[in-house]
Amino acid sequence: MLSTDTDILKTAESWRREGRGVAIATVVETWGSAPRPVGSHLVIDQDTNFLGSVSGGCVEGAVITEALDVITDGKPRMIEFGVADETAWQVGLSCGGRIRVYVERVD
């Protein structure tokens, strides 16, 4: 079953209502050929359950790791991925694009 943005934000709400720690990651900017459009969401809970995507799977792992920190300290973060970025040595977009992702906690 495909998860739509509707499902993703509804899931974020219901996970939070269940008392889980929840973060929402949103693609806010893309350059070049990015796999997911601006506005795409990934929702993550404290146990690394997740729904949705911010890339074709290339950087989800790194976003989830960052999201766990956001769930812990509550401070929103902006993270950037791409070939021009030094993080590309660890995780990057194989398609050559760049993306900026905003990660925030649901309080």
């Binding site: 509707t6 934000l9 709400e13 925030e104 906690r105």
Partner: protein, 230 residues
């Protein structure tokens, strides 16, 4: 994001109303702006533009960056006719995230057994269409081949702002349909909104292939701003 804000955003979406979540990406400050409240907002111009394009994105205002999460209502597909093509169409449309409703007054056709996963309304289109509301995020397809059922649906569709209208039938069938609807008072410009024969011309034969051609045409109408036209 505050849970109440997320909850409000989801509620607007469920009610098929557009809304924008405005996030100051430096401070993390957020507010929800409903479609009806856009005019009074500081970022009114940017918000209106974002709503028109239906696209999320970053905007700058007085040296600050804001991210606009634009929520347009989910696209709905109203299918007139609980027929064989509709049985192929419904699951494919769901795969495309379309919100599908089937309408057919013939109770022998309109059964949940034939359409296990979508709402089926065994009612006349002219009764039920005003009730469910047809908005600019709605596509309507008339597939019964029966003017008694299709025509009232097309009449309601033509009076609405729906983004796509399609009707099954040959060119000849459509000529007769245009004649009937002209006699009913519709102008040429109105009637040109009807895609008929329905679907992209891919030489479709089976119900499933016809469903593909119909859905391709609906997607093409929905995304026309993105199409690479030769």
């Amino acid at each position: 994001m505050r849970l109440s804000l997320l909850s409000d955003l989801n509620a607007e979406r469920a009610a098929r109303r557009a809304a924008i979540l405005v996030t100051d990406v430096e401070s993390g400050e957020q507010r929800l702006v409903r479609e009806a409240e856009v005019d009074g907002d500081l970022l009114a111009e940017e918000l209106l533009d974002a709503l028109r394009r239906g696209k999320s994105g970053l905007v700058e205002w007085e040296g600050r960056q804001f991210f606009l999460t634009v929520q347009a209502p989910p696209v709905r597909l109203v299918v007139i006719g609980a027929v064989h093509i509709s049985q192929a169409l419904a699951p494919m449309a769901k795969g495309l995230d379309l919100d599908v409703t089937i309408i057919d007054p013939r109770t022998a056709f309109a059964t949940p057994e034939r359409f296990p996963d979508v709402p089926v309304l065994a009612e006349w289109p002219d009764t039920v269409l005003p009730e469910i509301g047809i908005d600019p995020y709605t596509a309507i397809v008339a597939l019964t081949h029966d003017p008694k059922i299709d025509d009232p649906a097309l009449t309601a569709a033509l009076r609405s702002e729906c983004f796509y209208i399609g009707a099954l039938g040959s060119r000849k069938t459509h000529e007769r349909r245009v004649q009937r609807l002209t006699e009913a008072g519709f102008a040429q410009a109105d009637l040109s909104r009807i895609h008929a024969p329905i679907g992209l011309d891919i030489g479709a034969v089976s119900p499933a292939e016809i469903a593909v051609s119909i859905l391709a045409e609906i997607v093409a109408s929905l995304r026309k701003g993105r199409r690479r036209l030769a």
